[in-house]
Amino acid sequence: MKVLVPVKRVVDYNVKVRVKSDGTGVDIANVKMSMNPFDEIAVEEAVRLKEKGLVTEVIVVSCGVAQCQETLRTAMAIGADRGILVETDVDLQPLAVAKLLKALVDKEQPGLVILGKQAIDGDNNQTGQMLAALTDLPQATFASKVEVAGDKVSVSREVDGGLETLSLSIPAIITTDLRLNEPRYVTLPNIMKAKKKQLDTFKPEDLGVDVAPRLKTLKVAEPAKRGAGVKVADVAALVDKLKNEAKVI
């Protein structure tokens, strides 16, 4: 079976973002971008399934500006076989991405779609679930273990209070949590090989999807700053402050 892995180009997780002074958004000009960390885990998982012989082809897809090609090349250097870029300058919201992905699922007919559980820019945690709804496929979100056996996939999920295990019939949608695996480093020879892999480009119109944003962002502001704290000399002073100044114990 084929596996489809959607990947997103986001501001690198180590970057401390700044809000633009006019309140229209976050300043991402000249900021380091990389693959969303949860998506790296998704690509790694798909490649591992391929290495186990359970999967024949890993297709990575990214939706967004032309530079998303770099993200796709990274995914192909990890081990994906080919890439699809849905190119648009429109600010894509999860529902629009889910619709684009649905069109690609209809076209490619993958057995599994593995997504990250959330992107670290919008922090939405929606796309996988929305794709599952639109395609009418079962979903297993926040996966920490995936085992394919015949026409079923068994997934352990991280839930509040512990873990739960579900069994889904294939085709199915899975979203990754942090502990699913440790993504490998890409090597130089693999980066070179990835440059030769097939990358197809579509426009949203080619897929018949309206990607106009549904939510309007009125403003983006800095969160309230915390007042400057104090350093205390020793434990006794700390206990005294907590008891008498903050009155929390």
Binding site: V26, Q129, L134, L163, L168, S169, V220, G229
Partner: protein
């Protein structure tokens, strides 16, 4: 205009996250109804009817809803969705699992993790690990929302007297099945509801040390124990204790961070705490920039001393 809150429950009682969600629903204006979907959940439905501000409880009971499978719970919500202007879920693992599925079926955008209701169609939510707050407006007919529980006060669990209306449970989708559950046992308060949290990081060095150092402090303060991602990844603490962007979001009265450097992903989960204490031997640790009280000391001596001093 009526709001529907999807209750988080364990069939016997209502989870506290539901109460915060009811407050958010009330802020949207109009009546507040609560859906209790489960199996043998009459007690939970009765408890939901007691919540102040709730005018109706809809109780769907059936085997398909027993384990909260997203496919079935979403279908149950959709079966009654047409009467509501707002559908709100707590932003818990269960809520986040189902809400986007409902939104996509209704062909509306979903609004995640709201921290404030500015108007019935305008909400505030944190983005970029809490480093920016976006105000978003929805033009959709139905607003499907997940509510960051630490952003809203809990509604009173008693004082209401809502009618309970039974509805038929949806059929099982047949596409997914529940296999089993491994629950982490704990006698301590629940992390997201605790008034005091003591949290440990990688500096603790091992699972044994983590328990040995953090437990007495938690016991002394009646606190819940949290952990940084580094501590969880190293296997010092189970992963449902993780506080941060990808773990639990907490806002207790007092948060004591021991041996945690304070990466932005961790701060995203705890910076709305009322008082933050940092104990760390590295004076340059970023955690000191958000701490109200910082103690520059080795936690292996400072924490036991603190336990003694309390």
């Amino acid at each position: 205009m009526t709001s529907l809150v999807i209750a988080e429950h364990d069939n016997a009682s209502i989870k506290p996250a539901t109460l915060n969600t009811v407050t958010a629903a009330a802020a949207c204006g109009g009546d507040v109804h609560v859906l209790v979907a489960g199996e043998g959940a009459a007690a939970a439905a009765a408890a939901a009817a007691q919540i102040a501000g709730v005018s109706k409880v809809i109780h769907a009971d059936g085997a398909s809803l027993k384990d909260g499978l997203a496919e079935n719970v979403a279908a149950q919500v959709l079966a009654i969705a047409s009467s509501y202007s707002h559908i709100l879920f707590p932003s818990t693992a269960a809520g986040k699992n189902v809400a986007p599925r409902v939104a996509a079926k209704l062909d509306v955008a979903q609004i995640s993790d709201i921290t404030k209701v500015d108007a019935p169609d305008t909400f505030e939510r944190p983005i970029y690990a809490g480093n920016a707050i976006a105000t978003v407006q929805s033009a959709d007919a139905v607003k499907v929302i997940t509510v960051r529980t630490t952003g809203f006060d809990a509604a009173a669990a008693t004082g209401g007297s809502a009618a309970v209306e039974a509805v038929a449970a949806v059929a099982d989708s047949g596409k997914s099945a529940f296999v089993g559950r491994e629950v982490t046992k704990s006698e301590r308060p629940e992390l997201t509801a605790a008034k005091i949290i003591v949290s440990g990081g990688r500096a603790l060095g091992s699972a044994e040390k983590f328990t040995e150092v953090m437990s007495p402090l938690a016991d002394k303060l009646g606190a819940a124990i949290g952990a940084s991602r580094a501590a969880v990844d190293a296997g010092y603490a189970p992963n449902d204790l993780q506080v941060g962007q990808t773990g639990k979001i907490v806002a207790p009265q007092l948060y004591i961070a021991c041996g945690i450097s304070g990466a932005i992903q961790h701060l995203a989960g705890m910076k709305d705490s009322k008082v933050i204490v940092a104990i760390n031997k590295d004076p340059e640790a970023p955690i000191f920039s958000v701490a109200d009280y910082g103690l520059e000391a080795d936690l292996f001596t400072a924490v036991p001393e603190l336990v003694k001093a309390l």
